[in-house]
Structures are given as structure tokens and as C-alpha cells.
Symmetry: C2
Subunit: 546 residues, 2 copies
């Protein structure tokens, strides 16, 4: 219905500019609100976020009720976008966010009289927003929309900016809370560090209102424990919105061309050796125990903190070391795997790769600062050595895991005849200058022939078509991905629910000073936590693909 | 000679990981060295940088003497890469960097006995590095290398990381120096703020060595004034290295296919109305005068600082307002321009666009923080109003200039018959589903025909081929680009050579506190300065293309 677009980048430019400016404004207010000295209050931040959510909701409703209803609005659907595990995760985290909103409303209602109304309005609006957005993404994540191009792009980018602003606000709020609770727990040595000082954690509440009642305290503790889910919800929604945005105005050759990666057989666990999941589950359970013991011990007296740190680092070193070795062996298996690389354009995968590489930077940065502090600093004790090993292994693990995941995501689909055990490799070594020849070929041809490069195809696409992989390889890869997946979950849980060895351990704090080190950790760690969650969703895809 | 590459992204992955890790290590040491409290010394930073430069030189020499000498090493050359103005700028800034290195060597030699040798070695090695790298980039910026793929990628990325590390070190050093000189000039009110306190500016020099002699002081002042050129040199080299890296292993269809944009006629200024360059030159000269007066007055007593700030802001508001209007009218002219959009793959242009959009973020961030401070802060005086107008116009100017430049860069070449004055538009409205049909077409066909989409071409590429533009439009666009170019140069000079109204003006410092505001400005301003320089080089390209 709509006219063909002359210049797609021009259409995108406007929406990117809108999102960048909205996001920077939100960033300014949120970071200003985080500092007590600055005269920007959290009510300003809440007001901004509420306005943004209302506007985003308006657009979503317009999209659902007008844009999609037009004829020819969605001629194509991108099979790669919004896989079921991403949408499932979105719903799961969305439900947790709704519970968090209930807790938050309850907490702020406890001292209703001395709060501004926006603080109670904000979680309520957020609950409505989460419901509407989750429905919207569930229904239309795969759409390649072809009308109202500019409006849809701006709407998607604005909604994306809203989600990122919510993410930033949650991360900042949690960091402020962590900082307050760690300083206050250092002074009164209570063994749970969430129950203390709601006013100071809150930052700007007047002095005559306090959260004394048991219900209020439960609400407050609850909502801080549910923050990680809210954070992941925003990020999941952001990635799905970005892929939708990339798909606006996209033309797919045919709906069968974007070969779907959904597994045809659903007997998932039958396909693995048992070693991977069992070992992963063992590490998961041990890790959970270590985390709980660490959290209980670390706020106690000096000796027990030391002990808790040694235990925490030892577990992490073992876990990271195993993960590194397993990722490496996965990469080695790929050296023998002669499946074709998938060169097709795929915005979902491009985003996944960029996010894995980008989010890893956060953990890299923390590790390098740790390494410099340990190497240049004076103490040469057990804890320093453990810290150094932990930081080095953390870098190695991120590198090898990223290499493994990225290579896995670029492998072609398994092929229908993946149950043939002997690797016969009949057409190994065939080189095609034209990618699409791979798809037009009926099956492996008896004689190697070089397809002439078509005039329009990008001539740099060169692929080697090969035999289906051996079955043991596929099973190994499934084992590896499940093991890594479980390890990543436990490594997500620890920092997401409040383990901060970075501050319990005094090496870096002494070396850089508290404020600099706190700034480094509070900026970089959210990316590290996001990396874990994103790696889990990518590894799930790797598992399905193998 | 080398085997065809199966999976290009895999080859890139390794080199990106190398560069990221090297860069993060450098970043850790440099940022640690910037803080006096942290036990990382600037000698450590110098040692790291010197090592990196030596390694990068080794690779460059290997490339020049071995890789390129192999047969079939460079089958294609990218016509878009390394245009003459970029290489010319590189040589210019390289010469200034060499002068800076002479000054730096002289400065550190003045108190040779109490310095570690690395401080004198570093500028000498840097001079050699600059000479070798400039030669290398001048000769091979256009290469699409096809052997030693992995080694070349890693070498290029390592050299890129080296340049970025040098850039970071220079920016940090300059910021530290600015901070020290502004605090010391506030205490002793000398009217030049570079002559004071070399030891403190230097940060870590022992107390018994001082720069007392006149020669030493000249050396020191000189090298701080030459820093901006060193910074731009590193960034120019980085962009060229990045494009070379993208071109490793790239196959171009033929050397004529990537249609070169070099102008056939060199009577450059004959093609413009005179208004643009004249107005631009006037603003440039006025700006230079304003800058000098501002620099002289701002370190004086309170009343004169106020006066200098009013003058500085007034000039900037006028300049930014004119630039916004001119960019906007340029975009409006494009609405009547029916040249085809150029959809060809072009790493140079993709990088240019990404850098323009990314570097503008720095200035956006500063402006948004200013706006929040002025709006939320109490003072409602002339300076506050000027500051607000300045910040708003700065955002508007960046947005409209980016839109104008990006649209200009995506226009096709002017075409051979651009001297026909009447716009005849014979095949306006033709829509092709296949881009390459544009090139296979002999000339404008008498009847519109729709080319069938070829199987391999991306089917989303849709272009409208049109008549050559009217001549007045081309002249207008040339005027506009020259005007914007001159304005960007003056707006580069002011912050690059030390104008910091952000600190002379007390609104933001009072609102955010000195340390937070200094962190914001020192992190964001280097990107803002880079944006200006990069806009100049892009506008030069726009001028040639129009």
C-alpha cells in the first residue's frame, strides 16, 4: 500500500536521533538523581519515566489497533526474530516485574502521607506498561512492517529508549541501595544487609517517615530482590524492539527462504550425553550453596569475611576454569565440523553477536582494573593470588565462550539427514562463488562444479558445502552448550542478587580509593550481569541448532 | 595465492579480541595513572605505549617489506578509502606531532637527571613511529589485502589499538593539565594559565626538579599547544586503519565498479557562489578574535570573566544559529534533488556515518547536563539564558548538520552531464528492484521497465534513477558545505586550544559539584572536539561530491 522507500537509512536516521536524545535526557536526570548533592530528585526521574511509558503505550495501542489492521501491513515475517525462548523469558520476567510493582506500590503506600503521588503512580503505570508491551511483543515480534514506516520506526525507537531508561533507573537505584547498605552494614554489623535504613537507601525521603512495620519491610526487601528480573525484562524487550526496528520495511525473498531453525523433534534431552547437564547441575547447586554461605558470612567479622571470600573465589575459579576448557573443546570440535557457514543477513544474529562482544567489555574492564591493582599493589597473600587467578580466568572464559557461541550461531542448519553416523563428506572442498547456489542445488552433486558468480550477488560470499556432521559431534555440542548454560545461570545469580566481592575484598578499594572503584564497578557490572543472561539465551539457541 | 576464506567474521573476531584486550589494559593503566592517589605512575604508561609502538612498527615493516611484495597480495584497491584530503591531513598533523615530540624531548631533557629514561625515550620512539606509520598509510590506505589474512588483521587492529591508546593518553594528560592550570590560575591570577606549576601539571615528578629556565618553559608551553594536532593525528590514523581492516580479504567486482568520486575538474572555487566562503571566513576571523580575547580576559578578575563569557556565548549562539539554518536549507535543497541514492557497500562511508553519529553523543551529553543544570538551578540571569540557548542550539546544530552530511554522502556521483542547466528529468520515477540494473543500463531508456529481481541480489535495494540536478543546486550545496566547513574549524579551534567556558561559568559547577562536572566534561569533550574535525573532513567530501 505504502510507497517503496527510496533510502532506508534516511528513514532510520530520524528515529535514531529521537531515541538518542530522549535517552540522553533520561540519562542526565537519572544520573543527576543518583547524587544526593545534586538538586535533581527521584520524583523528577519517576515523572519522566511515567511520561515516557504513557507515550510508548499510546504508540503501542495505535500500532496494535491501526497499523497492523491495514491491508498489506505485514507482508513478511522474520523467522529468526523473537524465538520462543526469548518470548518465554520475556513473559517470565514480566510476571516477576508485575510482582515487583505490587511490592513497590505496597512499600510506597506504607508512608503515603509524606510521599508525592508520582511514587505510587509510577509502579501502577509500569504494571500496565509491562502487560501491554509483553502482549505487543508476543504478537508482533516477527513482523516486517511495510506501512507507516517513519511512525513505526520512531515508535519502536521511543519504546526502546523507554525500556533502556527503565533499565538505567533500576541499575542506578540498585547501585545506590547497595552502596548504602554496604556502608550501613559495616557500621552496625547486622548479618542481613537489606533490612537497614530505608530512608537513606531511598535517598530523598523526608526524615519523619520510616518503614517500621513488618509489612513495609517485607515489601521493601521483596522489591529489591525482584529488581534483577525487572532489569532483564527491560533488556529482553529492548533487544526484541531493536530487531523489530531493523525489520521495518525489510523485504524477504520468500517466507521459506529464511530457513527456520526451530527443531523438528522435541525430545530435547534424549540428544545429549548425560555428562554435560549433570556436571552443570552439580556446579549450579554447589554454586547456590556457596552463594548463600557467602552472603551470610561476608557481613560478619573480619575472619569470616576472609573465609567467605576464599570460598567464593575458589568456587569461581573452578567454575570458570571448567567453562574455559569446555568452550575451548567446543571450538576444537568445530574444527572438524564441515557444515556450511550461514552467510545470510540476519539482524537477530548480528545483534546477538554485538551484544555478546559489547557486554563482555564490562567484565573485561573490571578484571583488568583488578589485575593492575593486584600486580602493582603490595599484598602478596592468598587472597591476592586468588583474585588474580579469578580475574585472568574471567577474561579467558569470556573470550573463549564468545568465540564458541559466535561460531555456533553462524553454522548452518543441521540438515535433514543428520542421523547418518559415518561422516562421508562427499562434496567436501567444493567452493562456490555464489551463495545461493547452495540452496538451488538439489543435493550433493557427483562432480564438483563452480557456479559462475551472478551479476548481482555479493562476490565475496564464499562457502564450502559439506557433508552432514557426525552424530557424536552434535551430541557433544549439545552437552557443552547445556553445561555452559547452567554455569552462566549460576554466575548470573551471584552478582544479580547482590554478591559484591569487589568491595568485601580490600585490594582494589585500597588501591583505587573507594569512590573511583565504586564508579568502575557500578558502571561495568550491570553489563557483566547482562552478559550472563544474554549468553544463556544464546546458548539455548546453540543447543537447539546443534 | 592464499586459500579463499570460508568465514570472514571468524577471521575478524580474533583481531577484534586482541585489540579490545590491549586497549582495555592501556585504558586501565592510563586512567590509573591520571589519579595521583593511585600507585600507577606515568612511567608505567609511557613504558606500555613505547612497547606498543615498537610492536606496531615491527608489524608495519613486515607488511611493507614482505606482505605487499608477495604476488597477488593486493588484487584490488578500494577507491573510496584514504581520499587525498584525509592523507593530506594525516601528513600535516604528523608534522605537527613531530614538532611536539621535539618540544617534549627538549622539555624532559631539561631535567634529565631526575627523570627516568623512558620519558625521553618515549617521544623519540613516537617520532619514528609517526614517520613510519604515515608512510605506510600514505602508500597502502587503499589496499584490499588478500594474503596473510589473520596476521594482517591482527597487525592492523593492534596498530589501531596503539593509536587509540596514544589518543587516550594525550586526552587524559591534557585534561589533567587543564584541571591543574585552572585551579592554579584561580589562586595566583596570572593572565596566562600555562606558565604555572610544571611539577604539579606533570603530576609525579619529584619536588627537587623544576622547569625554571626560559627554554624549558617554551618547550613545555609549546608541547601543550601542539597536543590537539597529536590527538587528531591518532584519530585520523585510526579511521584509516579501520577502513584497511574492513578491506582485508574484500573482493571488489572490478576496479571500475567502485565508481571513484574524485572530481575531474579542479577549478574548485569557480563552482560556488561567493557568499558561503566569504561569510564563513568572516565568522572564522571574528571567532578567532573572540577566542583570543576570551582567553586573555577569562583568567582575570570576576567582572571581566563575566564579560568574556557573555562575548563567547553570544558569538557561539550566532554561529550555531547560522549553521543550523544553513544545514536545514541544505536538507531542503535535497528534497528537490533527484539524484539516485548510492546503495553500494562502502566501509569508509559507513565508518564516517557511525563516527559522526557517535562522536556527537559527547556534545549532546554535555548540553543535556547543562540544560538540566540551568533549568533546575535557581539563577535566572543573562548568563543562564545564554548558556541555555547555547546548549539548545548546540544540540540542534549537531542534529541538522549530521542529517545534512549523511544525506550528502549517500547521494550518487554528479554524473558526466552535470553542466546541462535545464533539469529535463526524463526517467524520473523509474523504480528498479535490482540495483545493478542501474549500471548495466546503457542510458536512460525511452520507456520505463521494471527489472526482474535477480536471485542473488538483496531484493530490498530499491532506487529511483533521475536526471542530473540543476546547476544552481550544486553551487548552493558547495556554498553550504564551505560555510559549514569554516564554521566547524573555528568551533574546533576554540575547545581544542583550551577554551573551557564549562568551568568559567559557575552554573554547572555549583549544580553538580566540581568533580562530577569535571568528569562529565573531560570524558565527553574529547568526542565533541573529534566531531568537529571529523565533520570538517566529511564536509570536504560533500563539497567535492556536490
Amino acid at each position: 500500500a505504502g510507497p517503496r522507500e527510496v533510502w532506508k537509512k534516511g528513514g532510520r536516521l530520524l528515529s535514531v536521533l529521537l531515541a538518542v536524545n530522549v535517552l540522553l535526557l533520561a540519562c542526565t536526570l537519572i544520573s543527576g538523581g543518583a547524587f544526593n548533592k545534586v538538586a535533581v530528585y527521584d520524583t523528577d526521574v519517576f515523572a519522566l519515566l511515567t511520561t515516557m511509558m504513557l507515550l510508548a503505550m499510546l504508540w503501542i495501542l495505535f500500532y496494535v489497533f491501526r497499523t497492523v489492521r491495514c491491508p498489506d501491513a505485514v507482508p513478511y515475517r522474520d523467522a529468526h526474530a523473537g524465538p520462543i525462548w526469548l518470548r518465554g523469558g520475556l513473559v517470565l520476567f514480566g510476571i516477576c516485574t508485575l510482582i515487583m510493582d505490587v511490592f513497590k506500590t505496597g512499600y510506597y503506600s506504607s508512608f503515603f502521607e509524606c510521599q508525592s503521588a508520582i511514587k505510587i503512580l509510577h509502579p501502577l503505570i509500569q504494571a500496565v506498561f509491562v502487560i501491554i508491551q509483553t502482549y505487543f511483543l508476543w504478537v508482533s515480534a516477527k513482523d516486517c512492517i511495510h506501512i507507516h514506516l517513519d511512525l513505526t520506526r520512531c515508535g519502536l525507537m521511543f519504546t526502546l529508549a523507554t525500556n533502556l531508561a527503565i533499565w538505567m533507573a533500576a541499575v542506578v537505584d540498585e547501585s545506590v541501595h547497595q552502596a548504602h547498605s554496604s556502608t550501613s552494614s559495616a557500621s552496625n554489623t547486622s548479618h542481613t544487609h537489606l533490612a537497614s535504613d530505608p530512608e537513606r537507601a531511598d535517598g530523598h525521603v523526608g526524615g519523619d517517615c520510616s518503614c517500621d512495620t513488618a509489612v513495609c519491610q517485607i515489601f521493601q526487601q521483596g522489591y529489591f530482590y525482584l529488581y534483577p528480573f525487572n532489569i532483564e525484562y527491560s533488556l529482553f524487550a529492548s533487544t526484541m524492539l531493536y530487531v523489530m526496528w531493523k525489520n521495518v520495511g525489510r523485504l524477504l525473498a520468500s517466507s521459506t527462504h529464511g530457513h527456520s531453525h526451530t527443531p523438528s523433534r522435541l525430545g530435547l534431552f534424549r540428544e545429549t550425553f548425560i555428562a554435560g547437564p549433570v556436571l552443570g547441575l552439580m556446579l549450579f547447586i554447589v554454586g547456590l550453596a556457596v552463594f548463600i554461605i557467602y552472603e551470610v558470612q561476608v557481613s560478619g567479622e573480619e575472619g569470616r569475611t576472609q573465609q567467605a571470600l576464599v570460598m567464593y573465589y575458589s568456587f569461581n575459579i573452578v567454575c570458570l576454569g571448567l567453562m574455559t576448557l569446555v568452550s575451548l573443546s567446543g571450538s576444537i570440535i568445530y574444527r572438524f565440523d564441515r557444515r556450511a557457514m550461514d552467510h545470510h543477513k540476519n539482524p537477530t544474529r548480528t545483534l546477538d553477536v554485538a551484544l555478546l562482544m559489547g557486554a563482555a567489555l564490562g567484565q573485561y574492564a573490571i578484571s583488568y582494573y583488578s589485575i593492575v591493582a593486584v600486580v602493582a599493589g603490595s599484598p602478596r597473600d592468598l587472597l591476592g593470588a586468588l583474585n588474580l587467578a579469578y580475574a585472568l580466568l574471567m577474561i579467558a572464559q569470556h573470550i573463549f565462550q564468545n568465540v564458541f557461541i559466535i561460531e555456533s550461531l553462524h553454522r548452518g542448519p543441521p540438515g535433514a539427514d543428520s542421523h547418518d553416523t559415518p561422516p562421508k563428506e562427499p562434496c567436501h572442498g567444493l567452493t562456490f562463488a555464489n551463495l545461493d547456489a547452495l540452496h538451488t542445488l538439489p543435493s550433493c552433486p557427483p562432480t564438483p562444479r563452480l557456479a559462475g558468480s551472478s551479476p548481482a550477488g555479493p562476490p565475496e560470499a564464499v562457502a564450502i558445502i559439506s557433508a552432514p556432521k557426525g552424530h557424536w559431534r552434535s551430541r557433544c555440542l549439545k552437552d557443552i552448550s547445556l553445561f555452559l548454560l547452567l554455569c552462566n545461570i549460576i554466575l548470573w545469580i551471584m552478582p544479580a542478587f547482590g554478591a559484591r566481592p569487589h568491595f568485601s575484598n580490600t585490594v582494589e578499594v585500597d588501591f583505587y580509593g573507594y569512590s573511583l572503584w565504586a564508579a568502575i564497578v557500578n558502571i561495568c557490572l550491570p553489563f557483566g550481569i547482562f552478559y550472563r543472561m544474554h549468553a544463556v539465551s544464546s546458548l539455548l539457541e546453540v543447543y537447539v541448532l546443534s
